[in-house]
């Protein structure tokens, strides 16, 4: 590498960008809130914005490992945890908007709603997983749980899958015939499947080899 300092600077820049980018949707919601620009149905606006941010960050956090492997960018690995934690934060805010702001902590009513609607049950399971993973993401728990910890962290795929299903079911329309605004949740679902496939050596090894081959051509050594 010609300039190791430059490389470190770029890495740092990316890390900062991840934090700033992850906090941006929250800053946006707060800004709209204080300026009174959340629209005519503020609860719905906040539910949508926090929900979208949670799904987007979840997909990004799952993109970290495949990207790191394929492009051999080890430093990316450190972005996984903050992205996952931010996703959990937005999922938590999303639920808070629902339970505290919309339903005023009327537990009876909240429970009635959740058990009656499959899309909310799915969302709740996803949320529980995300909160659990966020809570155990720290070194203390990593040490304490040992092997189980890695297994536990893998359930993030389940949480993401359930979040996408929750999203698909939250859209007004018909899922069977895809009549409705299904573009965004389908993209999220498609990316999720792609990222899952890229975790399988059968899929990522050839890409890795191919890219390696390309970069090796000019005769440059890593």
């Amino acid at each position: 590498m010609a300039n190791i300092h430059q490389k470190i600077r770029v890495e740092k820049l990316i890390r900062v960008a991840v934090h700033v980018g992850s906090l941006f949707p929250l800053a946006m919601v707060l800004w709209l809130m204080v300026t009174g620009n959340l629209g005519f149905n503020p609860v719905e606006t906040v539910l949508h914005r926090t929900g979208h941010a949670a799904v987007a960050l979840l997909v990004l956090s799952l993109a970290v490992t495949p990207l790191r492997r394929i492009f051999r960018l080890q430093f990316l690995g450190r972005l996984r945890k903050p992205l996952g934690l931010y996703a959990a934060l937005y999922a938590g805010l999303h639920f808070a908007a629902f339970a505290v702001w919309d339903y005023r902590l009327n537990l009876n009513l909240i429970w009635m709603e959740i058990v009656e609607k499959p899309f909310l049950i799915v969302g709740l399971v996803s949320l529980i997983i995300l909160v659990l993973l966020a809570g155990t993401s720290f070194r203390f728990w990593q040490r304490k749980l040992g092997k189980k910890w890695r297994w536990l962290q893998k359930t993030v795929y389940l949480a993401a899958g359930l979040a996408v299903i929750h999203y698909l079911l939250a859209v007004k329309g018909d899922l069977l015939t895809l009549q409705g605004a299904y573009t965004a949740p389908l993209i999220a679902g498609g990316l999720l499947i792609l990222l899952l496939l890229l975790r399988i050596p059968f899929f990522y090894k050839p890409i890795q080899r191919f890219l390696n081959h390309q970069s090796a051509k000019p005769g440059e050594k890593e």
Partner: protein
Amino acid sequence: MADKKRHSVPLNRDEVTPKHIYQNRRQFLKQMGMVGLGALLASCAPRKPGASDIPPDAPVNGRTDELGDALTSYSAVTGYNNFYEFTTSKEQVASLAQNFETDPWSVRVDGLVNHPGVLSLEDMLANFNQEERIYRMRCVEGWSMVIPWVGFPLHKLLAEVEPTADARYVAFETAVVPDQMDAVDSGRFPFPYLEGLRLDEAQHDLTLLATGLYDEPMPPQNGAPIRLVVPWKYGFKSIKSIVRISLVAEEPPTLWNIVAPQEYGFYANVNPDVSHPRWSQATERRIGEPGRRETLFMNGYADEVMPLYEGMDLTIQF
């Protein structure tokens, strides 16, 4: 949830003079730079002698529906709309629809009637006394408003065209204008938007053909220039920008029922006891009000409309 309060108070029905409507309409058209044949015709329309003038920007503060709930602000009523021909984004309908051409406009009335024909908007404004009706509007998405509509009961129009003895349902159709409606060709929904009512529902005095709101001509985003308002049913039954009304013998197809029949029944009466897979039907958000309130059976119009559904199981025929 069994002992919901079911209010029944007579509705506010302040008469609004046609003259007032016409004047507003002309003013509106002029502002929009659309002085066409329709506007000329409107200016020739007969005026009621001695009619009182209500200032167009009369304060609405303090006005309520018959249950005492305040009107929803004009900006919310005209800024938060479901009109999927333009966009699925409720706060963008107003700007996307602002140039929707509604002059001239006519409605074809056909099917099982003795006097089929094409009624221009001016005909309808001239022939049917325009009155104000303050109705609650409950959207299936779990939000609601209180809106001062201007219009005339559909039964007046039906009486003119005389449904035949075979007519049992009324079918409605929204305009499809692809070069003015950004989303009709998106393929997301099978437009034209279709709706329908049973004939007796259509003939109920609460069922309104609305030509305006807040004392002014119907804004495009609210379904200009003429739309249906059926206050005891979820909002999607109240079809917008109507170009055709047909009397038919069989239950007509309706858009949301085609798209997702398990979620949206033909009747779509507001009913907190019939749940929806996405939104709460037991409670609702009143736009402009914090928190949630209980949804009233038949949106609070049960006393007026329940005779229509005698002997029906409304949880099955929802």
